[in-house]
Structures are given as structure tokens and as C-alpha cells.
Amino acid sequence: MPNQPSASRFMRWFDPRFRQPGTWAFILNRITALGLTLYLAMHLVMLGKLAQGPEAYDSFIALAKTPVIKFGELLVIAAGFIHGINGIRIALTSFGIGVRYQKQLFWIGLALSVVATAIFGYYMFFIA
């Protein structure tokens, strides 16, 4: 029947229109969760280069120093901050702490994530 909940409507999870900050947090959490899971799998596979010896690992690290890969790493760092800080928000509210301030917690968490990512980005691109 039309309008009936269905697994095929999952893309609408990610539609931010007419939604509240809580759903924006849910959308960000879900996208970062999937992204970080993919990264975790890739990270574990890539670390396998260590077992292949110094040449394999060091040439991989040389590739990781290129700007494109560094930008990808920065996206992972941003995802980590967003998911981690919002995760703390969910943990707190799920135990009844700060439920009525969940919107403020979202905005504070997002601001912290942006600032932390900017600091990491500055360090990665201009210092290291």
C-alpha cells in the first residue's frame, strides 16, 4: 500500500528537509557510521602491508602523504569527531541526562567537531 513503511524507503533517512537538529544528528551519525566502518576495513587491509616488509609499507606511506589521500584522512578524522561526540550525546540522553537540551548538545558537538577538524587539517597540511 502507498505510504506503508518499507525497507526500500531507506534513502529518505538521509533527507534533511523539514527536519529537526535531532534528525540531522541521526543523518550525520548514520553516514559517518557507514563511512568509518568502510575506513576500518580499508585500514586493516592496508596495515597488512606491514607484514610484507619495509619496502611495501614505506611505499604505501609515501602514497599516504599525497594531498588527495591526506584530504581523505581529514574526512575520516572529521567523521570520527562527529560520530564520537554525537555518540556521547546519544549515550547521555539515553540515560536521561540532558534530554531536554539535546538540540544545544548537538550544536555544541558539531561546533567542537568543526574546530577539532580544522586544527587537525591545519596540522596535517601546514605543519607536518
Binding site: 606491514l50 609499507y57 606511506i61
Partner: protein, 124 residues
């Protein structure tokens, strides 16, 4: 009107584990990051650095612990997303086995890798 019996597949225990593992990931990832990329000179960016770093048994234990919590948190979370799609019970059974095999495989692989790297210290 369809009516399905509530599924017992995700209860208080698993949900609490997901939350606690998530908080542990935040803590250990912080340590992992600081040690790997700030304390370690040049940020463990060469094979020799990594092998030297793994000579400390506490590092091996911490990395293995980190691996277990991060893999379990991500797979329990992925399972939760799949449960949101309301799969039939048969698919949930298959999913449980697949996630268990993938998770166990990742941990076994990670532990082997950590021990392998640690064992190469004598060649330095």
C-alpha cells in the same frame, strides 16, 4: 493489517554493549591518536618506527583491545542499521553468522598482525 511478533534480536544487553564499546572507542582512539601521531616522533610513518613502537607489550595489548572494541562496536552498529530495514528472521540469522565470522576474522587477523610486527623487533 499485517502484524508481526516483536523480534528479540536486540535487547538491553546488546544495546548497552554498543554504547559502552562506543565510549571505550572514544577513549582508546584518543590514546591511539596521541601516541601514534603525536608522541611518536614523526608519527610512526616508517616501517622501522612501527616495529620499534610494538616492542612495548603494553602497546600490543592496547592495540588489540582497541581492535576488539572498535570492530565489535562497528559491527553491532551495522547490525542495528540492518535491523532498521526490518529483514525477515531468516536473513537476521544469516546476518548474525556473517557478522560473527567477519568480526572474529578481523580480530584474529589484527592480533596476528600485531604479534607478527612485535616479533620483528630483533631484526632492527
Amino acid at each position: 493489517m499485517n502484524r508481526s511478533t516483536p523480534k528479540p534480536n536486540e535487547g538491553a544487553g546488546l544495546w548497552l554493549y554498543k554504547i559502552i564499546a562506543g565510549l571505550l572507542v572514544v577513549v582508546v582512539l584518543g590514546i591511539h591518536f596521541v601516541v601514534n601521531h603525536m608522541v611518536a616522533p614523526e608519527g610512526l610513518l616508517s616501517y622501522a618506527d612501527v616495529v620499534r613502537y610494538y616492542q612495548n607489550p603494553a602497546v600490543v595489548w592496547m592495540e588489540v583491545f582497541f581492535l576488539v572494541v572498535v570492530v565489535s562496536h562497528s559491527l553491532v552498529g551495522l547490525r542495528s542499521i540492518i535491523l532498521d530495514l526490518n529483514p525477515p528472521q531468516r536473513i537476521i540469522g544469516v546476518m548474525n553468522v556473517v557478522l560473527l565470522v567477519v568480526g572474529s576474522g578481523a580480530v584474529i587477523y589484527g592480533v596476528w598482525l600485531a604479534l607478527e610486527i612485535a616479533s620483528r623487533g630483533s631484526s632492527l
